[in-house]
Amino acid sequence: MHPILNIAQKEVYLQLKTKRFYIILTIFVLMAFGGVYLMKWSLSQTPQFEKLYEGASPFQIMFTSSFSSALSNLLPFLGGALGYDIINREIQEGTIKLTLSKPLYRDQFINGKFLGSTITITLGILLFYVLTISLALIFGVPVGMRDITMLLATLPFSLIYTLIFLVIGMLISIFVKKPSTALIVAIILIIFIELVYPMIAGVIAFAMHREELMSATSQMVMVNNTTQYMAPQQGFENYYKTLRRMLYIAPSTHYNSVIGAIFGTKAEISGATLFGGSIFEERSIGESLTLVWQGIVALVVMFLLPFAIAYTKFMKADLR
């Protein structure tokens, strides 16, 4: 058997037996239930959001709602949980010395580990997708072929997004010797990238465009029977552009834009669009991906960069 496949096979076998994998799967199951419940609710609320969700299926609505952002927050934890001790635990337990004393190159070891984790993550995401579709069918939510195609089209991007955090975890696991310390570092880093940084970016962008957003020309408008403070369109767009620029280094920005595009949301959603018509438009998956190619490239780069650093560092490390 090829050394990479041998290591990958062992890795999948061991990872599928870890508690952390089952904890994340349980959260996935709960999310799938929550998502399907949200779909049912959105069906009953259709008249209220008629204009906003015009022409969209419940599945499209679900994957462009808070469910999608919950998923984009959870996937990093799946990647990080599988990556944070991928190397240091083997060093700590001495198993790396056993394996690397066998006829294989160091890069085959790290590639095998990476491949094994990728398979585990793929299995986890696929399981979640299958569960979501099954629950939707069980609860009577209509699921069409187009919905399933769109969902499957998101798989490579959900995978690459999760892999970004797997390789960040790998990197931590190479630099931090103790798995317990590495876990804390990984959690803090993921929380910062996923939650803290977008908040900071929002505050900074708001501070930069405060004058425009709060100017005297701002209007009060009625949306869904509630009074909302509407900034002028130009001010909103400037704020939005700055925010997007700042969030460019956050993987979730690109992931959410790619998922949104696959599920048919308009490429640029301005204030006027948000309150003036549907956020969806009819187009093929290929067209959607063309619209977000920059985001796809950014995701690939964000995955490759930490992987290259982890790889280089591992190749030169003393494995005591």
């Binding site: 337990e93 198993t95 010395k97 690397l100 066998k102 190159y105 003393d318």
Partner: protein, 306 residues
């Protein structure tokens, strides 16, 4: 032909020189005991031999292949038992060995036959489907030994192989080392158990502070030690012993009037015998007290520390 050739190996961890210009050759078929106190650089040397540690300078060749340039050719013919390691706890004994066997070019039946043979040899055949996490330390060590032998290696590198083992386990390890040596395999093992090194080794190296302080067969090392430290000559006569006053004597320790120990710079037994016969004293015993490996080892360390 040498099985292991280490040339001018140096490895630093920050300011600390773990191994300092080590040069060492081990002949094919030799059982080499690598002695040294904790932190002497034994494990660093062993890990460098397997390419797990990248030295700052020096070359290592095993069976004629450079460890860093041709790692696969080396690893195909080497078996390694690390110190303080464990097997994959979530895998069964069988699955552990199967995982390690998969790295070698063996067909399925050959692999299964070898795994069965090894599990029986180390006494784990009956528990082959039990997860390693349920094993005692001794059982895990035996499984580790089995993985080191999975490829029927020509060179066996063992780092503290009996560390933490019960007497039965230690006996098993020693008998396996002897068996491998009888088959003509080269065994390189580190240990701090002197009796074990004395029992198993054809050749010994003593590493202190990253430097090789003694190298050779046990006899050679003891001889070198005696030449350096002096000879201890036990003497017993029928009559009372006279005063010893001639060149080469460092001091005389009298046990009683007929028995004494003479500490001398050289082997002066002949001179003593002549001297006593001239004085009509009949000798009962005149022999050199050979230093034990422990004496050699401890004095070598203390000399360094002193």
């Amino acid at each position: 032909m040498y099985a292991i050739e280490i040339e001018n190996l140096t490895k630093k961890y920050g300011e600390l020189k773990a191994v300092d210009g080590l040069t060492l050759n081990v002949e094919k078929g030799c059982v080499f005991g690598f002695l040294g106190p904790n932190g002497a650089g034994k494990t660093t040397t062993i890990l460098s031999m397997l390419g797990l540690i990248i030295p700052d300078s020096g070359n290592i060749r095993i069976l004629g292949h450079d460890v860093f340039r041709e790692p696969i050719k080396v690893k195909e013919r080497v078996g390694y038992l690390p110190e303080n390691a464990t097997v994959y706890d979530e895998l069964t004994a069988w699955r552990n060995l199967e995982f390690f066997a998969n790295f070698y070019d063996m067909d399925r039946s050959e692999k299964e036959k070898r795994i069965e043979e090894l599990l029986k040899m180390v006494g784990l055949w009956d528990v082959r489907y039990r997860k390693a996490k349920t094993f005692s330390k001794g059982m895990k060590q035996r499984l580790l030994l089995a993985q080191a032998l999975i490829n029927d290696p020509e060179v066996l590198i063992l780092d503290e192989p009996t560390s933490g083992l019960d007497p039965e386990g230690a006996h098993l390890v020693k008998s396996i080392v002897k068996e491998e040596a009888e088959k003509g395999k080269t065994v390189f093992f580190s240990s701090h158990i002197l009796s074990e090194v004395e029992e198993l080794s054809d050749k010994v190296g003593i590493l202190v502070g990253g430097r090789l302080k003694a190298l050779g067969t046990l006899e050679d090392i003891k001889k070198q030690f005696m030449e350096l430290e002096g000879y201890e000559i036990k003497i017993e006569a029928k009559q009372a012993l006279p005063e010893f006053e001639f060149d080469g004597i460092i001091r005389v320790e009298r046990i009683n009037e007929r028995k004494a120990i003479i500490f001398a710079r050289d082997d002066i037994r002949e001179q003593i015998s002549d001297y006593l016969s001239k004085k009509d004293i009949t000798l009962i015993n005149l022999e050199i007290e050979e230093p034990s490996l422990e004496d050699v080892f401890l004095k070598t360390i203390y000399k360094k520390e002193g």
